[in-house]
């Protein structure tokens, strides 16, 4: 199993490298051999070699630099997605897949153009929130934190329903972007650590439904999830 941590050294703003650690551990515990390749600007990557791609969040300027660099992978990425291979993009990274990003100064940056949505940023108020979302493919809600300055317009296939926190646009109850096995969400940080059920779901997708995963080691992860879910449900109301 080959996992790609793409732009690992610049799109890693909120401890997101740990998503790869979480995936690596569940594969290892389940007796599945894997490698994690860390690649960035100076590398020439053949996406076809990989079973999974992960990209985390970056500062707005860093994300724009990555978006410009990624133009060379546009077609390979399209193929990867349409072949149903799993991709996870957290924070502002999935915004790159749209038509464009208009920054706070009004400059428009060309997106990868794989999907129809557009992104608009501002630089005065950061929109941040502890967030609880649900998805039809997970029996329990997911917890996390959204930390952004953008509104996304034109997403027709969102990933999550927002129970608490922020959606793609102001007052939007839908969050993220989903197509094939591409999961794009504005939840930041190690969401696969914080949400062990989502980790299991994603790992199962990676290894195939007929393979049994080892999940009994996730005791502290599960306890941490339960505490956070309860803290978010009560703490935020105080």
């Amino acid at each position: 199993m080959k996992l790609l941590h793409f732009y690992y050294d610049i799109m890693n703003l909120y401890g997101e490298y740990a998503n790869l650690l979480a995936l690596g551990r569940i594969l290892q515990k389940s007796g599945i051999e894997y490698t994690v390749d860390k690649r960035s600007f100076s590398d020439e990557v053949n996406l076809e070699e990989y079973d999974f791609i992960y990209i985390g969040s970056g500062t707005e300027r860093n994300r724009n630099a990555v978006m410009a660099d990624m133009q060379r992978y546009k077609e390979a990425l399209r193929t990867f997605i349409t072949n149903d291979r799993p991709i996870l993009m957290t924070g502002n990274s999935f915004e790159m897949l749209g038509q464009s990003v208009t920054d706070a100064l009004g400059s428009q940056h060309e997106g990868l153009g794989l999907f129809h949505f557009t992104v608009k940023e501002q630089n005065k108020v950061r929109t941040t929130a502890d967030t609880i979302v649900t998805a039809d493919f997970c029996d329990k809600p997911l917890v996390g934190f959204v930390n952004k300055c953008s509104q996304i317009e034109g997403i027709t296939s969102p990933l999550f329903d927002v129970k608490m926190g922020l959606g793609n646009q102001e007052n939007d109850t839908k969050e993220g972007f989903r197509t094939h096995n591409l999961f794009g969400t504005h939840l930041t940080g190690p969401i696969l650590i914080k949400n062990p059920h989502f980790l299991i779901y994603l790992a199962q997708l990676l290894v195939g439904q007929d393979k049994t995963l080892c999940t009994d080691y996730l005791t502290y992860e599960t306890a941490a999830y339960e505490v956070t879910l309860s803290e978010l449900s009560t703490g935020s109301r105080e």
Partner: protein
């Protein structure tokens, strides 16, 4: 007349507030409501020294105040660390005459990074010290570049910038500017030639986003950097830590002025260096500054000695949501050759706002506790499970880690016959919960 009444009311509220032990931001808040531009209606002293940055500003300001006061200057400063515009307003008005003249020779302001652009619209510092920009409280600050942009709005022409040359993002405030004073450290014995932190915020140039290289790293992204593409590089310094002996607890500034250290951390040394720089700028003699800063013990309650039964320990107040602060505290514990146990408490992430986000735990280099000096590790508080998960991804053996949801249970556990020194590492939001048990 409006000015007179506003100042009067602020002074009365401050006086009442002190009697009942209330914080120092309310009087300023009331004053700003009565007269929104009150800060531009007062006559300010010739020196207005502002200090901002992610870490170390409270300590640096305290050291500067100590130094200047000791040398006969009349200094007004925000002792309680109320560093947003309301607190600064209280500071200014309670130190001014009813006629609106600030009575001190020097106004010394600690300013919150995000609010500096509002505060300094009215009060323009003559000297502006920026210590560092780290990943700090990202749930409300966004990220360091976001804070950079907010701070950039607070810088105006005519301010003397005093910048940490070793921080590439901070140094960028001085890009293309003349008349900047730079402070920093020469290569130190504890330096590394590569990044040893969990993440690398010095990987790319803040100016052109091309790769940067370091000839030496003090810690994290702090060191001697140069861009491989646009030529952006660490500047030569005007005030310099030229040598450090951590075993003896000494540092030397500019090759001649020795300061003995009450707290042996590089972190503390940068605060001392910033204070030294400000002292020099206002005309104090370097040797005298070094004497006055030697063995200076902070009074802001960030380092507290304690005992539990027969055991001795130190509370190192660190900042939740700030990995560099944690790294620095752990570095102190890991360097203690007597052998120690380390307790980490994460119970409430912030005292000012609610968040349940623990992503920042993954930016902390907990691996450094895998060290012969560190024996047991005690994890406590609401988020002890998250800490346990984080530690499960280090090489530290599980049997050395004890986990307690209740801080009180953890405290009773520590009250044992073990002889190890204890380091308790936690935040303002949680320190009281521990100290109240003593």
């Amino acid at each position: 007349m409006k000015r007179f009444f506003t100042i009067l009311i602020c002074k009365i509220l401050r006086w009442v507030g002190k009697l009942v032990g209330k914080g120092s931001s309310l009087p300023g808040k009331a004053a700003l409501k009565l007269c929104p531009d009150i800060l531009s209606r007062v006559k300010l002293p010739p020196y207005i020294i502002a200090v901002t940055g992610s870490n170390g500003k409270t300590s640096t300001v305290e050291m500067i105040a100590h130094l200047l006061t000791k040398n006969g200057k009349n200094v007004a400063w925000n002792k309680e660390g109320s560093n947003q515009i309301e607190g600064v307003t209280t500071l200014v008005l309670s130190n001014s005459t009813l006629g609106g003249k600030v009575k001190s020779d020097i106004l010394l302001i600690e300013s919150d990074e995000r609010f500096a652009r509002y505060t300094f619209r009215y009060i323009k510092p003559t000297h502006y010290v920026i210590t560092n920009l780290y990943r700090d409280q990202l749930t409300r600050n966004g990220h360091p570049e976001w804070v950079y942009d907010a701070l950039a709005d607070s810088i105006h022409d005519g301010m003397q910038l005093i910048l940490n040359a070793d921080d590439p993002l901070v140094s960028h405030f001085g890009y293309g500017k003349k008349d900047v004073l730079w402070f920093g450290a020469n290569e130190l014995p504890t330096d590394t030639d590569r990044n040893t932190s969990v993440y690398n915020d010095g990987a790319y140039c803040p100016h052109c986003k091309q790769p940067m290289t370091y000839s030496t790293r003090h810690y994290n992204h702090i060191g001697h950097y140069q861009c491989t593409s646009c030529g952006y590089h660490r500047r030569d310094t005007d005030y310099t830590i030229t040598s450090v002996d951590l075993d003896k607890g000494e540092m030397v500034i500019d090759g001649k002025n020795k300061i003995t250290l009450a707290l042996r951390s590089l972190y503390n040394m940068y605060n001392l260096l910033a204070a030294y720089t400000v002292g020099s700028v206002v005309g104090l003699d370097g040797q005298k500054i070094a004497e006055d800063l030697s063995d200076y013990v902070m009074k802001n309650g960030r380092v507290v000695s304690f005992s539990i039964g027969k055991r001795e320990g130190t509370l190192l107040v660190s900042k939740h949501e700030n990995s560099i602060s944690y790294d620095q505290s752990m570095r102190i514990a890991a360097a203690d050759k007597r052998g120690c146990d380390v307790m980490i408490i994460v119970d409430a992430i912030s005292r000012k706002y609610f968040t349940g986000d623990v992503s920042w735990l993954w930016d902390i280099d907990f691996e450094m506790l895998q060290n012969e000096n560190v024996h047991e590790i005690i994890l406590a508080g609401t988020y002890c499970n998250d800490l346990a998960v984080r530690f499960s991804y280090t090489d530290i053996p599980e049997e050395r880690i004890k986990i307690f949801k209740s801080i009180e249970d953890a405290y009773h556990y520590l009250d044992s016959d073990r002889s190890e020194y204890i380091y308790t590492i936690t935040c303002f939001s949680d320190k009281g919960k521990f100290l109240s048990l003593l």
